[in-house]
């Protein structure tokens, strides 16, 4: 049984003979990585609009938007599949734009329920706010996408030449009419990079360790991901007992490369040892030590997946992606032969490639410079030239507004710069606040309540960023920063208590100082008063010591009181 290659109405088609219920789909060479951050979500929104109207059937249909492909597929009877695919093509030609607002809200709801996995932020740090980094971002563009935008997006990407039909069943239904517009096969985007050196690391916000590396796609790379998973599982979970989950994933990127991702969680409190164990597992690969038993197990598991009547059917969607991205289509026999030929030695160059370009996400607060990882950039290489506006909340921070972009500078720290030409998105709040994200995924908040930027200058910033501006709903008053507002509730509650303590201390010290002065003064008067020889106190060493002590106490207590009062006034 093999996959046959043909075409339907000018659309390349893949067909696998299959006795069960028919499964068919259309895969388009477009995905999140083709979007921009200001239009992030446009492919998903389009997919939802196109699928609308096919919801009353009893059969299973679905759509999925990936990084470089969008798939619309269905399982069912031949007539239903014909109706579904013909309907999808018709919808693409005449989008049901009356549904736009509803689907926008559906997507926003879907997004709020979505939680990115522990490995998601790796893409953001590796690629920035462009290309393969975009799937890590929320669908920020939804509020600004118009019907015209969607029509343009459909015309550019959902074309005959940029699609592949795939069918598993008894035949390709003759009634299929794939009425798609003409266009061109679109290559996958060239990856951008936000890293200046690799291997690199950044400190994550959890207790897990995540890692990825980019390798040449192929059976050796896929097997390496399997071997790495077994090594992580054995080392971190079975031997150290510090992790529960230790897993890897292998994902072709579409440009001849693939991304190997690995994640290990931490049992409570053990994340330092999970990081150390993870580093040592990578070092073992670097040292060329791959357990032959691990490779054998991975090969056996992969071969299992190539057996059985559904092997070809299951491979159809990924073959469709291969066809769209220009990857060679290989038969099951070829894949089996490649798999069998794999040796530990054939995995080593792939392992080195992965390690050299690796990106590590450490548990929160941990660095990995000790393990030879360079810190991923958290600041820009050059400041933005322009006029600084000092923060009303923190005198050490300035927002810089220049003719070419926006900068943020803090004393003693490297600057953050977002040139207008490299701004991925400007989220615009009705209160005037702007949240900017640069191509390198660094961000700056322009808050007119904090930085005294004149209105005309703010308008110029808005004009420069109009192509990437996304309007936002109003913020709640407490979300709008105020110059005098403390940074957090813990700050707010502890400060008055400390000031009150200082005030009480100062008052007590000053009262005691006055008491000491009065007593010593009185005593001095008695010593000086020689009128009554019977009760006279002599000016001897004891009385001098008492007076020195008394005046000293006055001075010390007085100074203490004044110091406490002054401290209290400071912010």
């Amino acid at each position: 049984m093999t996959i046959e290659q043909t075409d339907v109405d000018g659309v390349p088609a893949l067909f696998a003979r299959h006795d069960g219920p028919m499964i068919a789909g259309l895969t388009f060479r477009v995905g999140q990585a083709d979007e921009t951050l200001a239009y992030r979500g446009i492919t998903h929104l389009l997919e939802h609009l196109v699928l609308h109207g096919h919801g009353l059937t009893d059969y299973h249909y679905n759509g999925s938007t990936g990084a470089v492909t969008t798939v619309l597929h269905m399982q069912g009877g031949e007539d239903d599949i014909v109706a579904f695919l013909n309907g999808v093509c018709a919808s693409l030609q005449a989008l049901p734009l009356h549904r736009l607002e509803t689907e926008r809200q559906v997507l926003a709801a879907e997004e709020s329920g979505r939680s990115g996995g522990p490995a998601e932020s790796l893409a953001l740090w590796r690629y920035g706010a462009r290309t393969y980094g975009l799937p890590a971002y929320h669908e920020m563009g939804l509020p600004r996408i118009t019907g015209e935008d969607l029509k343009r997006w459909a015309a550019a990407w959902f074309t005959r030449q940029n699609a592949v039909l795939w069918v598993a069943g008894e035949r390709i239904p003759p009634a299929l009419k794939l009425a798609l517009p003409d266009g061109a096969r679109r290559p996958v985007p060239a990856p951008t990079s936000a890293l200046r050196a690799t291997p690199a690391y950044f400190s994550g916000d959890g207790t897990h360790v995540a890692y990825d590396g980019v390798v040449r796609r192929g059976p050796a790379a896929s097997a390496l991901a399997g071997v790495l998973e077994r090594e992580l599982y054995r080392s971190l979970r079975q031997e150290d007992g510090n992790s529960y989950t230790a897993a890897t994933n292998y994902e072709p990127r579409g440009d001849g490369m693939a991304v190997i991702t690995a994640v290990a969680d931490s049992v409570p409190g053990k994340h330092d040892a999970v990081l150390g164990g993870f580093v040592d597992v990578l070092a073992k690969l670097r040292a060329g030590r791959i357990e032959p038993g691990d490779l054998d197990a991975v090969k056996a598991k992969a071969e299992d997946g190539l057996r059985g009547p559904l092997a070809e059917v299951g491979r159809l969607p990924s073959r469709a992606m291969d066809l769209l991205t220009g990857a060679p289509l290989r038969t099951l026999e070829e894949i089996r032969a490649e798999l069998q030929a794999l040796t530990v030695d054939s995995l080593l160059p792939v392992a080195r490639e992965m390690l050299d370009g690796g990106l590590l996400c450490t548990p929160s607060g941990h660095d990995a410079e000790w393990a030879g990882f360079a810190p991923a950039p958290v600041a820009s290489e050059r400041p933005i030239p322009g006029h600084p506006f000092r923060s009303r909340r923190d005198g050490k921070v300035s927002l810089v507004v220049g003719p070419t972009g926006i900068g943020l500078e803090r004393e003693g720290r490297a600057p953050i710069a977002i040139p207008f030409a490299e701004c991925a998105v400007s989220l615009a709040y009705p209160d005037g606040g702007r949240s900017l994200i640069g191509f390198d995924s660094l961000s700056i908040r322009v808050e007119p309540t904090i930085y005294p930027v004149p209105p005309d200058l703010l308008a110029r910033i808005d004009a420069a960023l109009a192509p990437v501006t996304v309007p936002q709903p109003p913020r709640a008053p407490e979300q709008i920063p105020r110059p005098e507002a403390p940074a957090g509730p813990s700050h707010g509650s502890s400060k008055p208590a400390r000031s009150t303590g200082r005030l009480v201390g100062a008052v007590i010290a000053l009262v005691l100082a006055v008491v000491a002065l009065c007593c010593t003064g009185g005593f001095s008067a008695l010593v000086a008063d020689n009128s009554d020889p019977q009760n006279d106190i002599k000016l001897d060493s004891i009385s001098i010591m008492l007076m020195v002590f008394g005046y000293g106490a006055f001075l010390v207590l007085g100074i203490l009181g004044v110091v406490l009062l002054r401290r209290r006034d400071r912010k």
């Binding site: 150290d240 510090n242 150390g276 670097r286 040292a287």
Partner: protein, 305 residues
């Protein structure tokens, strides 16, 4: 004259130090090839690490020589050079520049050692160094323990690794005495007859005594019982290797502990074994000005009585 030099009692180690000084790699490699006991190997590596100015020679060897020895020795020298810059002062008395240089040295060493232990997971000297780095770079209590466990999987009961964990588990490195004592007891209970493993618990008690600033810990019946048990199972046991380099370390420690416990009879054989070669960090704990003189006067008093 009392000689506190760790190489002094051992001619071959004095020669090793000279070989490093004259940049004679074959002689260095030959000496280590003759050391089959991991405790001896680690001790000898410590002698090399203490040779001031050997960085360039060892760096060149690490670059050039196959195998893990040259890299392990170079990393060891980097760590020692780093600690020399940091000094043994409490953190608040160490300058920012000192810390930066110290950390830089440790990171460079660690990157080498990560590779060495990956290639050779049973390299006790490299793992012991990594436990030391773990402390200096504050990589964490669990990570220190993981390093120790990784080593123990291949080579259990390595003295310097256990001593390193005792340090890490003390309050000064973010641990607690309960944790340090539990580890010391674990080492004692698992110790093979005549091994160095019972020493870890003694070091915990010396740390407690130093921190508390009095001798109360030595008066507790369980402490005394454990110290005698430790002696019976290590230095006093027939299987104890009296010709191992660490025999000196062990006797020096028992001399100190029995002396501060006031058991002169028990202390005497240890002072006699150590002879002119006693002293070291733990003696300095009991004499902030001069641990040497303290050792000398203690020895004089004990051996005479």
């Amino acid at each position: 004259m009392t000689d506190f030099d760790p190489a002094a009692p051992f001619e071959e180690l004095r020669e090793l130090r000279q070989a490093v000084g004259r940049r004679d790699w074959p002689a260095v490699a030959a000496r280590f090839a003759a050391l089959t006991d991991p405790n001896d190997h680690e001790y000898a590596a410590g002698i090399v690490a203490g040779v001031a100015g050997s960085e360039d020679f060892l760096a060149a060897c690490a670059e050039r020589e196959p195998g893990t020895l040259a890299r392990t020795l170079y990393a060891g020298r980097l760590i020692s050079a780093g600690w020399e810059v940091r000094s043994s002062a409490r953190a608040k008395n160490v300058s920012r520049e000192q810390f930066a240089t110290f950390h830089d040295h440790l990171r460079r060493a660690e990157r080498i050692l990560v590779g060495v232990t990956a290639e050779e997971p049973a390299n006790a000297t490299a793992w012991t160094s990594r436990i030391r780095v773990n402390r200096g770079l504050q990589l964490g209590q669990n990570e220190a323990r993981r390093r120790y466990d990784r080593l123990s999987r291949h080579v259990p009961h390595v003295y310097a690794a256990q001593a390193g964990i005792v340090q890490q588990f003390c309050p000064k490195w973010s641990g607690s005495f309960e944790k340090a004592r539990a580890f010391g007891l674990e080492c004692l209970r698992a110790a093979p007859d005549g091994s160095l493993a019972p020493l870890a618990l003694l070091e915990v008690y010396v740390e407690i005594c130093f921190e508390e600033g009095n001798g109360k810990v030595w008066k507790l019946p369980e402490t005394r019982a454990e110290v005698y048990e430790a002696a019976d199972r290590s230095v006093r046991h027939p299987a104890f290797r009296a010709d191992g380099y660490r025999a000196l370390t062990a006797h020096n420690l028992f001399a100190l502990v029995f002396w501060v416990m006031g058991d002169r009879a028990a202390a005497r054989p240890h002072f006699e074994f150590v002879g002119e070669h006693g002293g070291g960090d733990l003696w300095n704990y009991f004499s902030p000005t001069d641990g040497r003189s303290l050792y000398l006067s203690a020895r004089k008093a004990v051996v005479k009585s």
